[in-house]
Structures are given as C-alpha cells and as structure tokens.
Symmetry: C2
C-alpha cells in the first residue's frame, strides 16, 4: 500500500486532491505549452506538450538516474553528460516522441537545450532534456523551439500540477506525491503506464525539494530510494529506453537530518512507483508481493518479479480467479531456472491473508476459495465490460481506491525480504497495445 489509503468517487475529487498536493517547493517554477506539429514519419498532424521545470537559481544539488536499456534515448545520452556539470538550471520535457535511435537524435536534443538556455539566460549545459513517446520518430525541433516562448511565458511558482499533466502519454491521470520534512517539502511527479519494468528508474520522474541537500548526499540517496521503489515495480516486464528520474534541490531550506530527508524521499518514490502501477496500461488489479525469509535480497526481489510478470498468473488475477497453481508455477519457474539449489520445502504462501500453500502442498478448500475470490474482487479497480467494437478501455480516469491483491510468500530459509508491485494482464492492456497504432 502507499503511505496513504485514499478513495476517490470521481475524477474531480482526485484532481482536487492532486491540487492539494501540488504546491511547489520554494525556488522552483513550472510552465507548459501544447502545440500541433507534423511528424516526419506519419501522414497526419500530432500534438505535443512542452514542459519547463526551472530553478530560480541554478543548483549544484541535482541527481539523475537513467534507464539501463542498451538502446537509450538521445536525451538519456545527453542527460548522462549533464551529471558532470557544476549546476543545473532547468529541465525541458516533451511527450509524444521519445527521440530513441532516430537519425541525428543527440544533435536534436542539444539544439533544444541551446534554445531553452537562450530563452532562460542560461548555458546549454545547465539544461537537462527529456523526451517520452514513440520510439524511432525524429523530434520536430523547429516546432519545439517555436513553442518555447509560450512555455516560458507560462512559468509560475504556484503548483506542479501543470507539469504532472504536461508529461503524460498513455497515463489515465497525473501523479503527484509529497512529503513534508523539517521546514521544507519533497514533491514528486511521474509519468508512465506501459513499457514499465524500470531498471534504475521509471519512465519520467521529477522530484523537487527546497531542502538543502548537497549533491554528494542526494545522489546515493536517490539511487537507494529508486532501488526500493521504481526498481521494484513491473507493469509489463518491458524496460523503457527513456527511463529517467531527476531530483533537484533549490537549497532554500537549511536542514541537516539527512536520515529524515531520505525517509521522506523513499516515501515519495514508493508512493509514485505504486501510482505508476495503479495507472499502468490495462491494470485492473494492483498486485503487491512481499517475499520474506529469502536467502538474499536479490532472490526475494526476483521471486516477486517472477510472480508479477507471470502472464498466466496475471490473467488469473484479471479474472478474479485465485488460480494458485499458476502462482506456484511462477515461483518454481524462477527457482528452477535461476536458483536451482534453493530449498523450497518450507515455503508457505498467503493470498489476502489466507494460507494457500505450506510445506510443499496446497492448503485449499471451498471456503478458502470463496475468501480468495472476495479478496480479488475487493482489489479490482473497475469491472471490465465487453465493448461493441471489441476495443477495451478503462471507464475511469482516476484511482477509485488504493487496495491491492496482497500476496505473502515466506521462503523460510533466509533473512532477506522485498516487496514488488505489479499489475494484472487484461483485455484493456491488449487493446491499448494491439488494437490501434500507438
């Protein structure tokens, strides 16, 4: 579960809550603009949103983690170089086109940075570029540079909500989380719904704080927080070529309790990570797997991932079907292939608090079956209904609750534990990714 336990009856209720979370920390401004352009690779016009995140003063205190996909997008290549810069002054983000393996991609990103720097009175090396969207298309650089002045004119220090809305692609709703630490705050936004099994970071995440944290502290803290949050989720086992997590401190609020800061940072990252799954493409059930008493953290996390990435188990959850045979299969598949010496004779498993497996055999009966079905139904975000045209889509654009399908797996032969969060596999996922061109 996230640190909250919220329910929303309607989109407007959810948006009001987001607005209440979105106050910008001191020293930051955001501005967005939306415009039409003609893609080079497609026959009809498309829409793009440019989002500017700026610091009132360039800061040396910034951190960023990028995808480990071996075909990183051009902005990731540029962003890695920015880590060596003394200060950062702004982030420029576009959706719709991710600028991955496109001809001239790095040059295009650098041109956007140069134009943004000129607009803001900064140096190009002070600008971090980010792109998300279609892989392989080329950025419409001239149209983007033409739209920059409107984004700059829209800059305000009021709320991060326009940025949370500006960076989305297939997301159903924007995602904002905040923590209050000392006299300051940590506010994060995320976009991402598909191609989500981050390997260091999820699609795009921006975490802003006014608390003064030196770069040397911020970078390892962000790496640890991502490891326990974005690196512990999977919507569909696919790893984006654009994953980026950025943390920026404006340094306005003096503070030295870095333990408290790191706890706040972890909370914001964990909450955003779970938001990303809850809003994942086609996700109707969030699945939360806690693996306990494993021989290593790596094994605990890998077993959790094996469960939430097992398509047959994911389909069973989608159908509110407690098909625990598929769960045991997924655990045995991973152990057999990757950890064959592991002793599983003491393994026990609970679903929704109900013991389903112990000492090598299933522990099932018709009453338990009823309780398991009830648990699955209770965690469902919405019911799927067959549409007339066969193209399934979510009927909601807000998270009605924060309940999960709750799995506990106790290996019984070690001391490591991990929690992994994933989603089910639904007709809505297939429709999103097969029934029309993305």
């Amino acid at each position: 579960m996230p640190s909250t336990n919220l329910t929303f009856a309607h989109r407007d209720e959810h948006r009001a809550w987001l607005a209440s979370q979105g106050a910008l920390p001191a020293g930051f401004r955001v501005g967005t603009t939306r415009f039409d352009f003609m893609p080079a690779e497609a026959p009809k016009p498309a829409k793009m949103t440019l989002t500017l995140l700026t610091l009132e003063q360039p800061t040396p205190s910034f951190a960023a983690l990028f995808t480990r996909n071996a075909f990183p997008g051009a902005p990731v290549i540029v962003g890695r170089k920015r880590l060596a810069e003394p200060t950062l002054g702004a982030v420029i983000i576009n959706n719709k086109i991710s600028n991955v393996c496109a001809p001239g991609g790095v040059e295009a990103s650098e041109r956007i940075c140069a134009a943004t720097a000129a607009q803001l009175g900064l140096a190009p090396g002070q600008i971090l570029p980010c792109s998300t969207g279609v892989i392989g298309w080329t950025l419409p650089v001239d149209a983007m540079i033409g739209a920059l002045p409107q984004a700059a004119a829209a800059l305000t220090n009021a709320s991060i909500l326009p940025a949370a809305e500006g960076i989305v692609t297939t997301d159903l709703y924007p995602k904002i989380r905040r923590a209050t630490v000392g006299g300051g705050s940590i506010v994060g936004i995320a976009k991402g719904a598909g191609m989500i099994e981050p390997n260091l970071a999820t699609m795009l995440v921006y975490i802003l704080t006014d608390i003064a944290v030196p770069r040397t502290e911020l970078r390892p803290m962000l790496a640890r927080a991502c490891d326990a949050s974005f690196n512990a989720i999977s919507v569909d086992s696919d790893t984006s070529t654009s994953d980026t997590v950025v943390a920026l401190s404006s340094g306005r609020v003096p503070f030295t309790d870095w333990g408290a800061f790191e706890r706040g940072l972890h909370q914001v990252c964990r909450d955003l990570a779970e938001d990303v799954v809850r809003n994942g493409e086609g996700v109707r059930h969030v699945i939360r797997v806690t693996v306990r008493n494993a021989a290593s953290l790596g094994l605990a996390r890998a077993l959790g991932k094996a469960v939430v990435n097992g398509p047959l188990f994911k389909c069973a959850v989608a159908g509110n079907d407690p098909n625990v045979g598929r769960l045991i299969q997924a655990i045995g598949k991973h152990v057999g292939a990757h950890a064959p010496g592991t002793n599983l004779s003491q393994l026990s498993a609970k679903l929704g608090g109900v013991e389903i497996f112990a000492r090598g055999v299933f522990q099932l009966n018709p009453e338990k079956e009823k309780a398991l079905v009830a648990h699955l139904r209770d965690a469902e975000l919405y019911q799927s209904a067959p549409p007339k045209d066969g193209v399934f889509s979510a009927p909601i654009d807000f998270p009605p609750h924060e309940r999960c399908v709750d799995l506990e797996i106790d290996i019984g032969n070690g001391a490591a534990s991990a929690t992994v969060i994933g989603g089910d596999l639904t007709h809505e996922y297939v429709s999103e990714n097969a029934d029309y061109r993305s």
Copy 2:
C-alpha cells in the same frame, strides 16, 4: 519454418494429413479411453482421457527429460526415478489433472503405475506415469484404475493418432510429426498450448522409433535435440510443472548411422516444437527470430527469447503493427540487464526480409512500412473478431498455413547463432486465461 510448408483449408484436410503421418513404428501399441469422474476440489463432474503407450517387448532403450520447474509434478518425480530402471514397458498418461503439489501425489502416481503394470503383466518400475492439466487438484485414482481395462482393450498397432488426440488439454488440434530414417521411422506427438517456455522439455512429448538405438546414445541425442527445439520456444514465458519429453526405441530395425538418426530426431523435435507454438493459446502469429553473429549461443538464444517474450512487441504483432521501436526496446532491455558490455553498434535487424535497423538507427520509410504490414498480415493465422460476449476464441481448429513473422537480428560481433520461436499476445490469450476458470 518447419521442415514442411503445408497449408490446410479445412479441419478434415488437416486430420487426413495427421492420419497419414501417424503409422506406428514397429513394436508399439496405443490405446485410449475417456471417462467421467467427480473431482475432489470442484462441484461438478469432469472428463479425463487415459492414454496407454506400450511396447510389445520392454526396452532398455529409453530416454526422458523433465521440467526444471522447482515444483515438479508427482509424475515427474516418479519419472526421474524410472531413468535408473533397466527397461520400460509402457507409458500411462492422463489429461485434466496434472498432479502437482497435491497431497499424496507421488503415492497416487505409484498406484496408477502398479495397476497399469498388473493390467499389462509388467512390473510397476516398468511404467512411466505422466499427468497434465489443473495444478493442485488430486488425481481420481480409483476412477482411473477402473478405466484402465478399457484403455488396454483399445490397444492397437495401427496409428498414434488416438494418443495424439488423447493427451490434449487446451490444444486446438493434435500434433504428429515423423521422419523416415534407414528402414525405420521416428514418430513424435506433442501436447501443449499454454504455460509454454519449456526448460528442458515442453508439456508432454512422446517420440517412438523402431530403430535400434542404445540408451547410451539415445539419451544425449534427445537432450541435444530438445535444446535446439523445445528449449527454444516460448508461448507465454511460463514454465510448466509437468514438462516431459520421452523417447522410446523398440529396437526392431537395426541401424548404425547415428548421425542420420540424430538428424531425423532433431527434425521431428523442431517440427513438433513449432507446432506447439502455432497451436499456442491465443497465438495468431508465429514469430521466428534468428539471431546471428552473437558472442555466444546463450546470448543469441536469450535475445531471441527477449523478443518473443516482450509483451509490447507481441501485442504489436497481434495488431499487424510493425512497431519496431518495441523490438529494439526488447533487445536493449535484455542486453542492458544481462549483458551490459555487449557492443550493439553493428546491430542490424530485418523484418520479413526488410532492413529496419542498422548501425544504431532505424532505417524506415513509408514504403517499407507498407511491406512490413503486408508481411505481418500474410503470417496471421486468422483474423480476430470482437465477439458479442467479449470472450474471444479461435475460429479454427487446424493450422491454415506454416508461415511465420520472420525476424533476423545480426549482432555483428561474434559467431554464434540461434533460432527462437514464439507467438503474439492477443485477446484470445487473455480470454483463454482470464475470462473463465480453467
């Protein structure tokens, strides 16, 4: 492609071809029986088919490979013990219940073996048991023993087709392949449609030959043949708890050209493996990935698996959408996570013979796009149509053709190559596994 290039316009045409392939090698007999029983774990009766495969004389020349899933079914546990027996006389196979992690599972399998042995005048250690179907349920041992005499009474030496039909579960059609070697033959059957990323073997495969091959030759040959066939396919990345491949020689036809025998064995295994994918749950496109010039066989095979197990790429193929960004993502995901030192700067990729990627960038234009869409449509087994009740199912129960979505990936920095075969991810897969209880 399989060694054939068949097309079938109708189920009856396919069944006639199967019948033409099914003549039993000398020295074997098969018999089946189908009966109703009351499962202990479910409120309504179910149907089971018992299949007997017998040798006229028990043979020392037998080989078997079993799942590496760490929760193997009871028949797998018993089967592994049988490998040490001097001779094998029969295989007894049931569908509907797989006898995995069920209380008393091994004892149940041994009781079936003892009853089969008594029926056939053999010793229990000469019987290999196999079960496939629901995981976690208990075998109806008494009902099975009661049905054994009918299966024995049905034994004939005419055709393997009744066995190919008797062992299926969610398969749309039976699968038989044969090779003629010297004066004898190799005939194989397979069942399996879901939970298919075999790790040593696919669901259930039986290969019978009358050619005299000593056990010491047969076992390593079967392991090599499985590695290049059943271990190189994936329908859904899940690894069954019951995977078993059995090879039996009746020793009737003297032969010493073991190279020729092994080539025939490989062909039968490769053809059956591709049949399993073509008949995979929800598969509308078979995807054949050939990876060339990789640094190792392991990397070549792993990259092929990463492509055919990438849900976003699988969905794109289902939609006849040449979304090559998702393909490059899948390759980069694997390399980034598991082979981060690999040089991909010389990677090129072709889809349907059309170059789509070279030297780090996409090679796309609107004419190529049309050719790619045409290639995907040509490989489609059937068109998906939205059903009124939202539950998608295949409208065919035969393979209309043997064409594949043909992907060639050249890494350009090594000498190893591998071919991996998989399927797309469709509404039919989700319906099969989410829309009703299996």
